[in-house]
């Protein structure tokens, strides 16, 4: 008993990132009681994140902690750093002006949940961290305190609730068949091909797919993105998603998915459907955030491809994609929030805006180009690399589904042109009156420029992405 406790205490050293986040979250909550100044929360938020980042350690061997409940590796560390990097910017968003301390508390909770998702290796832990992330997300959705927010929050919650209930049911079946909650110890060798077990797998994976917004679990995405404060969306669309994909990969690995063809095929088809549905769905959107939300769904399809690819380049592709995806989302949501703060949420409100805001317009174009995946932006680099790896995937397995995946992915790029360019199209090609529009401030422009330049810079220097990917010692996740 004592040795166990000692082990646990010893393991806590590895958990410094998570612990500091948890502690920080509580500190901020308390701070909210003491200090009423909004700036303090922002500073606190940044401090907590930076502290956590400082305590993050890279370059370790893969370790199992707390029994085998958590699995730590370098990929996780890297992605945690990415999470911090993504989240830290939200304080600069104009929509982040009025948030209280509980907002930052929830935000940190969500990051914490996602960070733990990266290492969760036990059904119980998985369930808990998913719920932790979800609860934080549900709550954050309401933070605009409008009719719409509550509606979206409620839908999100009900949807999430059903998904997680089903996932829990699935988890219970998995537990029943394997007799263990530990992913690494799971073995269904004896009872293969039982319908009940398959149901369990499907339901459990469904719970994770919900987090990564893969079709058909993407339905919550548009309304949630629309109603949630934009700064929160920037985080929501990146951090839980990336964490969810890592988790999904671990689960698929544990279930030995490459041996279970129906599961693999299902997930592959869902990936294709995700790209298709996201792209087609986005075409008809007129609300900027809904539009980008559908785009994000399509991006999930791309990320899923990287997750499914069974060799090390898949990991690299995933890391590349994740990093750039995070960057692009930070940039695009920053721009969106700038416009949102001036009351512009619908696409046609942007008509003729170039007269007032040609500079930001240019940045919007670049970021959108990156989201589409055209040069000279890093959005192109990652798509190129992903397509390359998909080619290789086909070369090695020869499965026609992989070709279909590749083709749909490529075609979706053409379609995505339509909706991503809607805003630039309105801004530059249409005439309109924006008499009430007030120009953005210099600092806002500078921040937007930094984001955009990052997106461009990684195109010209992709080896940075590669170095990041290469520094992960354990490329097999």
């Amino acid at each position: 008993m004592l040795t166990q406790l000692k082990d646990i205490i010893g393991d806590l050293g590895f958990l410094s990132f998570e612990i500091s986040l948890a502690a920080g979250a509580i500190v901020i909550l308390i701070l909210g009681l003491v200090v009423k100044h909004k700036l303090a929360y922002k500073v606190g938020f940044i401090a907590v994140l930076l502290l956590a980042l400082l305590l993050l350690s890279f370059g370790q061997e893969e370790v199992l902690l707390l029994g085998d409940n958590l699995q730590f590796n370098d990929l996780g560390a890297l992605l945690k750093a990415l999470f911090v990097f993504t989240a830290i910017w939200i304080v600069f968003y104009p929509t982040a002006e009025n948030h209280g301390s509980e907002y930052y508390f929830l935000m940190i909770s969500m990051i914490l949940g996602s960070a733990l998702m990266l290492s969760a290796n036990n059904l119980l832990v998985i369930y808990l961290v998913i719920e932790l992330t979800s609860f934080a997300s549900y709550s954050l959705t309401n933070f605009d305190f409008k009719k719409k927010s509550f509606e979206a929050g409620m839908k999100y919650l009900l949807f999430g609730g059903v998904s997680s209930a089903l996932a829990l049911y699935g988890a219970s079946i998995l537990y029943g068949y394997s007799g263990t909650l530990s992913l690494s110890g799971m073995d269904f060798g004896v009872v293969e091909n039982s319908a009940f077990l398959n149901l369990g797998m499907a339901l459990f994976i469904g719970g994770v797919l919900f987090k990564v917004s893969v079709v058909p679990f993407h339905i919550w995405v548009p309304s949630t993105y629309e109603a949630t404060p934009t700064d929160a969306v920037a985080v929501l669309s990146v951090i839980p998603k990336i964490a969810g994909f890592v988790l999904l990969n671990r689960i698929l690995d544990a279930l030995n998915v490459y041996e279970i063809s129906w599961l693999l095929n299902t997930v592959t088809i869902l990936g294709i459907a995700t790209i298709g549905m996201g792209t087609l769905g986005a075409l008809r959107q007129t609300n900027v955030k809904r539009l980008i939300a559908y785009g994000a769904v399509a991006h999930s399809g791309f990320l899923l491809a990287a997750v499914l690819i069974p060799f090390e380049n898949g990991v690299s592709a995933f890391v590349w994609y994740a990093v750039v995806y995070a960057l692009m989302n930070v940039a695009v949501f920053y721009l969106v929030s700038l416009f949102e703060s001036k009351g512009m949420t619908e696409v046609d409100q942007f008509a003729g805006l170039y007269k007032k805001e040609v500079y930001l317009g240019g940045l919007v174009v670049l970021v959108m180009i990156s989201l589409i995946g055209l040069p000279p932006t890093s959005g192109f680099t990652i798509k190129l690399f992903l397509f390359t790896v998909m080619w290789e995937w086909y070369q090695s397995v020869g499965d026609p589904l992989t070709v279909a995946y590749l083709v749909i992915a490529v075609i979706s790029v053409v379609f995505s042109l339509f909706f991503y360019l809607k805003i630039p199209y309105q801004m530059f090609l249409r005439d309109g009156q924006n008499t009430n529009y007030s120009q953005s401030s210099l600092s806002q422009r500078v921040i937007a420029t930094i984001f955009t330049l990052l997106v461009l810079w990684l195109f010209f220097r992709p080896e940075i992405l590669n170095n990041i990917a290469n520094n992960i010692k354990f490329l097999d996740w």
């Binding site: 369930y127 059903v162 049911y169 909650l181």
Partner: protein, 102 residues
């Protein structure tokens, strides 16, 4: 202390799950829908506990305890949102939540 076979538990939990699901799908009032979710969770809990009984370790039961707590937390969040919805919409009927319909 013997011998209610596992199948019985599973059937019961399946029944719970289905009725919960049915409730989620049919009821218009958000409170009932939430109740449905609770039922589904409890179906899962029942499974866990039952499996745990036929297993050497107690993980399942621990899991169930956790999940009960999580369910409570979920209910708390749900109800707080519901409260707000009731204020804004003057209704807790899910069909009235249609301002964002597309």
């Amino acid at each position: 202390m013997s011998a209610i076979p596992l199948t019985y538990y599973l059937v019961l939990s399946a029944f719970l799950l289905c009725s919960g699901l049915l409730m989620v799908l049919i009821k218009k009032n958000a409170v009932f829908v939430l109740l449905g979710i609770e039922l589904m969770l409890n179906a899962a809990n029942l499974n866990l506990v039952a499996f745990s009984k036929f297993n050497p370790n107690l993980d399942g039961q621990i899991f169930a305890v956790f999940s009960v707590v999580v369910a409570a937390a979920e209910a708390a969040i749900a109800l707080s949102i519901l409260l707000n919805i009731y204020k804004k919409f003057d209704s807790s009927d899910l069909d009235d939540l249609n301002t964002m319909e597309y």
